[in-house]
């Protein structure tokens, strides 16, 4: 089910958390809300869930053309995974997952055996078979997160909302779980909106990335598009590493891989700049080189390790740097 957000505003006293936000989350997509803390992304997610309400006005939230703005969180039918999972500590994994079904009014509540089957099915789906009798404190961070996911899915939600889904995990677990979540999303095809402050996570995982800043949306698009054609200096700096090159009064933004390094002897004064090697680092196939231009500015350059070895540079050597053509 698609999510349609129109003209949402949210203020907390004098503080504006969201300023006239409109956004379409296509059916079946995995969309990332990306932004630094305080940009309003979590507030927006909570408003979609019904945990917070937007300021009165023209703003509305719709799931597949059905206006849900006035529907309470209890009846809105969304799946929500909290940043710290918010599992019920005193319940077993199975009881946690069954919660949404067991609180249904008696007339709608499935039989005990049906609930049991659904729990086992969900445990299988999130690859936690056999852990149904454990309690949350006996699980690892990654397992807890998947229990939270299974619990959210048990009520067959219309959309899935995830708040910083990998925020509380170790770097390695994060990477594994990220890949798993992408695969999982493709399997179940549920429209998913997730909040993150990690640009790598957003770019790698999502079909659509929404960059937010200071209560506003800066840019929306496919990850590759947003990365290659940032619409503002903020997006440029926020998505990946970037060099800021001052040319007179202008500032030019260059990705580290958009700079080429040559021997000083090959310098073409029309296009190239002379510089000295300031720092060298290589781990894996990509090497990072920091050079200092003659006017004192520093540039970070990414190049293949193989090419760096061919150049066989050491700190202090003079080189020429060729900047990529301005495309837009």
């Amino acid at each position: 089910m698609s999510i349609s957000i129109q003209s949402i505003r949210k203020t907390f006293g004098a503080y504006t958390a969201l300023e006239d936000i409109s956004l379409e989350v296509p059916n079946g997509s995995l969309t990332a809300l990306l932004g630094p803390s305080g940009s309003g992304k979590t507030t927006l997610l909570r408003i979609v869930a019904g945990l917070d309400f937007a300021d009165p006005g023209p703003g509305r939230i719709a799931f597949h053309d059905e206006d849900v703005s006035e529907i309470s969180a209890r009846k809105r039918g969304v799946g929500f995974v909290f940043q710290h999972y918010a599992l019920f500590q005193h319940m077993t994994v199975a009881q946690n997952i069954a919660f949404g079904l067991s609180v249904l009014p008696a007339a709608q509540r499935p039989q005990k055996s049906e609930i049991r089957d659904r729990v086992l099915e969900l445990l299988k789906l999130v690859r936690l078979e056999g852990l149904d009798k454990r309690r949350p404190h006996e699980l690892s961070g990654g397992q807890r997160q998947r229990v939270a996911l299974a619990r959210a899915l048990a009520i067959r939600p219309k959309v899935l909302l995830l708040d910083e889904p990998f925020g509380a995990l170790d770097a390695q677990v994060r990477k594994d779980l990220r890949r798993w979540l992408r695969q999982f999303h493709d399997e179940i095809g549920l429209t998913t909106l997730f909040v993150t402050h990690d640009q790598e996570e957003a770019l790698e995982l999502s079909d659509q990335v929404v960059v937010m800043r200071n209560a506003r949306i800066e840019q929306v698009g496919k990850p590759q598009n947003v990365y290659d054609h940032p619409r503002s200096p903020f997006v440029y700096e926020f998505l990946g590493n970037v060099n800021k090159l001052h040319e007179g009064k202008n500032v030019r933004y260059l990705r580290p891989h958009e700079i080429e390094v040559l021997f000083a002897a090959e310098c073409n004064p029309a296009t190239d700049l002379l510089a000295r090697v300031h720092h060298l680092f290589s781990a894996g196939p990509i090497a990072t080189l920091t050079v200092k231009l003659t006017d004192g500015q520093f540039l970070d350059v990414e190049l293949s390790r193989k090419y760096l070895d061919e150049l066989s540079l050491s700190i202090g050597d003079e080189v020429a740097v060729r900047l990529a053509e301005v495309t837009d």
Partner: protein, 279 residues
């Protein structure tokens, strides 16, 4: 070599401090407790049992149990509601409410008792109206209950507020999104999470409710066999030089204190055990 951190004193200083602490505690806390039991049994078992069997003692025990039996459940209800209100919601006047919860701790119990006499006493604000309608509050059970409720109000709320504050509302929010109604959230999520803190608060509240002297003394009127609670009865006996009887009744309160202490320690160990598992 034993582990020593920079903030630790040398071993003999440490031993001296620990020994001093034990001596002081024994003198101030254990000695009086021992004295209560020694005095109570000074004239033997028979006098001890006779003092408890006496009619006035019996009615004092009954009154104390009734007063605590009414005020502890009431304060459990009030305390849980107050803690729920101030921790799960943000509203204007919240900090005022937080200070009000502490008011009974700040006010001397005697003043707390006097306030009710001023309100409901024969010459108080509502006194004539109450007399017209033949309702007796002061020098009767309702007054004792009101005074006890007032004095013991903060125990449950004070125990729960910091606990619920640290727990936040994440689990409640998760329950709402999963479709739970208010009462389901309270009984299935909130209550299980606070049960040990609640038990702890109720224990302390009960201990104080049964032992309260000041406020109850003002409103009860000391009518022997009618409005004397156990602490008041002990005072009466003591003033009448019936030391053995006074101390015999005092052992009941002392025993209650020991039981409370034991249960409190048990709860602490259970919860300590649990919270160490959570991390």
């Amino acid at each position: 070599m034993p582990h020593r951190s920079v903030t630790t004193e040398s071993p003999w200083v440490r031993r001296l401090l620990i020994a001093a602490a034990f001596v002081v505690l024994s003198l101030f806390l254990l000695l009086p407790l021992a004295a209560v039991f020694a005095e109570a049994f000074r004239k033997g078992w028979e006098v001890f049992l006779a003092s408890l069997h006496e009619e006035a003692a019996f009615s004092a025990i009954k009154l104390t149990l009734i007063a605590a039996g009414i005020s502890v459940p009431l304060n459990t209800l009030f305390g849980v509601s107050a803690a729920w209100l101030v921790t799960k919601f943000r509203f204007r006047g919240r900090s005022l409410l937080l200070s009000l919860i502490d008011l009974p701790f700040a006010v001397s119990p005697v003043i707390a008792g006097l306030v009710w006499v001023l309100l409901f006493g024969a010459k108080g604000w509502f006194g004539p109206w109450l007399a017209d309608h033949d309702i007796k509050i002061i020098f009767a059970l309702p007054g004792i209950v009101i005074a006890t409720v007032f004095v013991t109000f903060p125990f449950v709320a004070r125990e729960l507020i910091p606990l619920m504050e640290t727990q936040g509302s994440d689990q409640e929010e998760a329950a709402v999104i999963l479709g739970a109604r208010g009462w389901q959230i309270f009984f299935r999520v909130t209550l299980p999470n606070i049960k040990w803190g609640l038990l702890y608060g109720v224990l302390l509240c009960n201990a104080r409710a049964m032992g309260e002297f000041g406020a109850v003394s003002v409103v009860s009127g000391h009518i022997r066999g009618e409005t004397n609670t156990l602490p008041l009865h002990i005072e009466v006996l003591y003033n009448e030089y019936q030391f053995s009887a006074a101390f015999a009744c005092a052992t009941l309160l002392a025993f209650l204190a020991l039981v409370t202490l034991g249960m409190k320690t048990a709860v602490e160990q259970l919860t300590g055990h649990q919270s160490s598992n959570h991390k």
